[in-house]
Symmetry: C2
Amino acid sequence: MKTLRVSKDKNIKSVIIVGGGFAGLNAAKTLADHTGFQVTLIDQRNHHLFQPLLYQVATAGLNPADIAVPIRAQFASCENVSVRWGAVKGVNLEKNLVYSDDVEIEYDFLVLACGAQHSYFGHPEWEEFAPGLKTVEQATEIRRRILSAFERAENELDLEKQKTLLTFVIVGGGPTGVELAGAIADISRTVLIKDFKSIDPSKAKIILVEAGLRILMPFSEELSQKAQADLVELGVEVRTKARVMNINAEGVQIGDEFTLAKSVFWAAGVQGAKMDFTPAIELDRLGRVKVKTDLSLANYPQVFIAGDMASLEISPGVFLPGLAPVAMQAGIHVGKTILNSLINKDHKAFLYRDKGQMATIGKNRAILEFKNIRIGGFIAWIAWLFVHIFYLIGFKNRISVMANWVWSYAFSKRGARLITNKEWKLTP
Amino acid sequence: MKTLRVSKDKNIKSVIIVGGGFAGLNAAKTLADHTGFQVTLIDQRNHHLFQPLLYQVATAGLNPADIAVPIRAQFASCENVSVRWGAVKGVNLEKNLVYSDDVEIEYDFLVLACGAQHSYFGHPEWEEFAPGLKTVEQATEIRRRILSAFERAENELDLEKQKTLLTFVIVGGGPTGVELAGAIADISRTVLIKDFKSIDPSKAKIILVEAGLRILMPFSEELSQKAQADLVELGVEVRTKARVMNINAEGVQIGDEFTLAKSVFWAAGVQGAKMDFTPAIELDRLGRVKVKTDLSLANYPQVFIAGDMASLEISPGVFLPGLAPVAMQAGIHVGKTILNSLINKDHKAFLYRDKGQMATIGKNRAILEFKNIRIGGFIAWIAWLFVHIFYLIGFKNRISVMANWVWSYAFSKRGARLITNKEWKLTP
């Protein structure tokens, strides 16, 4: 294995950032153009993904490239930031080494921002039948399954089988689950209804399953109930206090009832991204890395964890939430801490400035909670739209994305209604 | 196997059209709203693809959904056209049956418009190393290979290996090969050059291999030479009279020279789509179905073949070319012939009205030939642009596609620079 030393000059510190999500990207941007540091941003994907809109790709409203931007292009004009395409499987904390593919890279500072992945609660075999929604590939896979289900139902002569094809179960009543359920209800009631002649797509059964007492737990009970009422009005069956016991090719076991469904999507548990640490470090029960209040690792003040991968208890039993604004702020905080290290400043604790939270429920409806402000309905949806458009700044073609959206909403069309196969070869 | 009879009314004739490309789509549109016919359009894909711009998807200029439109949506308001998602593997000409997945469907008229696929001249094992460019999946695979090659070269420390990664070989000097070679040269010299820090993408070696005497054989020698000069100016190495003897993971054997190259793309031979006919019928040496002058099958006046799947000798040794305008006109011709059959008119011979031909060579350059008019350079490129925008009419969002294009060309950016994996699962 070759060892890379990024910076040849002892006075220029090498910063390795693993992960080009909201946290890693913001850490790198904070360090950009500071000549005391040579930054290497490593990601196994070539693109930064605007995850809050991924459900729009899964439901054929947006193209993958609308919400994905090449990480490399973000730093084209920054002399001191280089981008490396590769997977990082392990870190040696004692030797200050990161292992990426066939090389080991030395660091002075390390920022791990590898995000989270779905957790199937000890049932990895469920994944095949219930894809999650974290990556572009998963989003196009979900799109393929949704659109194929309607196509296969159209061809199906057996009415019972048709019903099974037109049953969609979404597991997990958090924002992703709610947005996905709302969007599927929306397209089946508006976009697809015109296209099919044998089936009535609006008869599609969409079931949102939540193990907890109510959906959207992080929101107030009032907004959670409003969202549930909106979903029901859209035609979504919401089942709370319902536990998924099994998922297979035929459907889902919810409590003691088996629901036949050809399409099941997973928006339930998450766990921290996997990483081999030498020596081993302390993880929480979700597999996230426990960090100090400055987001550094205990005993390793030059190693930071930011974003969904970090576990920080901010008050008893309350942890930093896995939200985009948290990851952005954490990335900036870590970047600043590293910058300040040159003048030997003490590390400051990370304080999350609450930006509130929002979730959309189908078209024209959303909920928004910011401190004591609680809004639902159309105004919240407009606010949601503006916030998301604003944060897409830096993304290449907001105009094109806007055009796609306006088109989709105004004409109830979905531009990206594409079923693509996994295999490109002719010969199977 | 279940037998479907599409039309229950004996006076309403059932027309089965297989294939939603230019030929099949136009045949269906010609028959749309004619109540004497019930049309079923069957395609194994849910989308009609604007193939002339597929090379733009392969080179990250356009999104797949920009040039693909759901077939179903085209006929949403036509009572007498239904769209069926499925593969057709065989036809029984004696029993008037089409076999699609698990059903057989009866027809009164049959239009086969299944297009063409790549032919590897008896070497199907080359496909893995040299994808062709006929489908969306192949285009995103080529995009993945091009972008990954630059990323891997950036990480590569061995200069020889780096050179191999930055060598792109395109086999076949027809319009597709020329467009692909030009576009790869274009992005490596303009778009990518800003993004990479270790490698110089403009040093990428792009080799266009053509077995014939010159590239773009269907064009006049004058334009062919102009195109070749343009390609050379863009940095493409054009090798004519060069025969590909072997392709493997290391590179390409061209004549008696082996060229190391990690990326090889296939734009050479085509063959007619595969179909099992009972009884067997006559194919030409490219596997295309020989048709009568009215595009019907000998002895089966109610069966038509249109588009790239058909073989018709229009003068000794000259066959109908495999071009989009030919397929469109053939589809309309077949549609009209079927319409006229109700009043027992004799079948008219298909006469192709020559629309000329064009090919682009990178940005701002094209060649155009229409009867005695021969134009090259920027004016031809503008003409090419207008013709393609015009024919994208009917495609959902020309504005958005235009916006993407203007963006790409004006700022030398490529919006869809996305490397996506085949696998969506976390667990390998």
